[in-house]
């Protein structure tokens, strides 16, 4: 027998000054293999076309559909309703600009973070696009790729106690990026250069090791390992 699911969904349009934030209830019959993405799509199609939520890939690759699911950050497309109790509350990710209802502007936050951390490859010289690329050991390429799997979904920021208290904290997503460029032999930056962008309390030394990021990352990135490694490298900078 299928369950009847009760959704309590956050509703607010920040562009309408008269609109008061509230939760709205929806009821839906559960179907086999139903994900939250499917449930939200059905609610929008059958009950309320005004409901805002983000999705692109529907397969846990793009990171667009991150939201608070019964209080915890997660991807709607990767969450089976069968794994949840019949009462399900959905809220937008905290810490990001609200676009409307469940949709938040993670892109704006991520761009600001990337610009602040200068999270791109810093080449020694302008790369020659016609020449063969320098070879990289497959093991190293895999390590870089492992960290590149981050989709910037924002779950680590929403799951981080420090980020919730201090808006300027770079979060695990930022530290993971630095770890990724530290690994890359094409990036000419030294630890002293990385220290300039993450060597303070809004960077790696602000991390209090609450592990929310590590435990809630939908891509299961080894964030504890990366942050510990980065902390040690950056702490070494302070020793002389």
């Amino acid at each position: 027998m299928s369950r009847s699911l009760n959704f309590a969904i956050f509703r607010h349009n920040p562009r309408d000054p008269a609109d008061v934030p509230r939760t709205q209830e929806y009821r839906l019959d559960e179907t086999p293999g139903m994900t939250l993405f499917i449930a939200l799509t059905r609610i929008r199609e059958e009950q309320d076309p005004s409901l805002n939520f983000d999705f692109v890939c529907r397969a846990g690759v793009c990171g667009s559909c991150a939201m608070l699911i019964n209080g915890r950050p997660g991807l709607a497309c990767r969450t089976l309703t069968a794994s949840l109790p019949p009462d399900i509350s959905l809220f937008p990710l905290p810490g990001f600009e609200l676009i409307g209802d469940l949709s938040v502007n993670t892109g704006k936050w991520m761009r600001a973070m990337s610009e602040r951390l200068r999270a791109w490859l810093h080449f020694e010289a302008e790369p020659e696009v016609d020449a063969l690329e320098a070879r990289m050991e497959p093991e190293l390429a895999e390590q870089v790729y492992e960290l590149d799997r981050c989709t910037e979904c924002g779950c680590c920021v929403a799951g981080c106690g420090t980020a919730q208290m201090r808006a300027d904290f770079v979060g695990a997503v930022g530290m993971n990026k630095i770890a990724r460029f530290r690994l890359d032999p094409r990036d000419v930056r030294s630890d002293a250069d990385f220290y300039e962008v993450v060597g303070d309390d809004s960077g790696v030394f602000g991390c209090m090791s609450l592990l929310g990021c590590h435990d809630l990352c939908p891509k299961r990135l080894p964030l504890q390992t990366q942050i510990a490694y980065l902390r040690r490298s950056m702490a070494r900078q302070g020793l002389w």
Binding site: L68, G71, R72, P94, G159, G161, Q164, M165, R166, Y195, E196, G199, D200, D201, G203, F205, C207, M208, S209, L210, L211, G212, H214, D215, L216, P222, Q224, T225, Q226, A228, Y229, R231, R232, M234, A235, Q237, G238, L239
Partner: protein
């Protein structure tokens, strides 16, 4: 040509062209907070073993107490050695507390944000951080009471002396609270240090094992502490009519 020379000189002299080196103090403060925490945490575990020697008998604790006064090295007790050590511990505690304050929520908005976050996340390590903040804050006020007593009267450490302080000196309520504060704070803190500094190869497995170890240590030291405190209370009640009498082992009394 004249202009070219000027431009070169200017760019070499303009201070804005040379970005200042970022301060190294955030790194040093982070290391110092962890280092003082590591030392204090491990010391508190050792301290518990010293205190618990009362469970092995009066003479065992007397020996431990005199050992730290240098009795077995110099042939006589030098209690100021203990005072010196207490002063060092107090200094370390002050540094640790000052550095830890950086992490405390200071404004109402931060308090509210953390409580809200903790409530909805239902996440063990996040909740344990609040335990760290609360136990740490409580120790700002309770730890100095004990530290000052030890600083001012280092010679009053012994089976009867300590038992009198615990019972007749009415210190047992303070020690009972301190026991829980210290063991929770040290257990969680040492666990956090490992999470902070050790880059685990298989973090999910390591963190699971580490989490269990943390609770095992905390429970072990709490039980040991409660048993020891009970022993001092019992001894203190029995010795209440002879408060102030120091303990001298029988083998010293009868020695020529």
């Amino acid at each position: 040509m004249f202009a070219e020379v000027d431009v070169v000189n200017l760019s070499a002299l303009t201070p804005a062209a040379v970005p200042p080196r970022p301060s190294l103090w955030p790194a040093r403060m982070d290391i110092l907070q962890s280092a003082t925490g590591l030392f204090l945490g491990l010391f508190m575990w050792l301290h518990m073993f010293f205190v618990a020697s009362i469970l092995l008998g009066h003479d065992a604790f007397w020996t431990v107490a005199r050992f730290f006064e240098g009795y077995f090295f110099f042939g006589r007790s030098l209690p100021w050695l203990v005072s010196l050590f207490v002063a060092a511990i107090a200094a370390m505690l002050i540094v640790h507390a000052w550095l830890a304050l950086r992490k405390f929520p200071a404004q109402w908005k931060q308090h509210a944000a953390f409580w809200r976050h903790m409530g909805r996340l239902r996440h063990g390590d996040t909740t344990l951080w609040l335990v760290q903040v609360l136990t740490g804050f409580a120790m700002f006020f309770l730890a100095p009471v004990h530290l000052y007593l030890m600083l001012a009267h280092p010679e009053l450490i012994g089976p009867y002396e300590s038992a009198d302080r615990v019972w007749s000196g009415r210190m047992w309520p303070l020690y009972l609270i301190l026991l829980f504060l210290v063991e929770l704070h040290a257990g969680v803190g040492l666990y956090r240090l490992a999470v902070k500094w050790v880059a685990f190869g298989d973090p999910r497995r390591s963190l699971r094992i580490l989490g269990r170890l943390k609770w095992a240590f905390t429970v072990f030291f709490l039980v040991l502490g409660l048993l020891s405190l009970a022993a001092y209370v019992k001894l203190g009640i029995e010795h209440a009519d002879r408060v102030g009498e120091p303990y001298i082992p029988a083998w010293i009394k009868t020695a020529p």
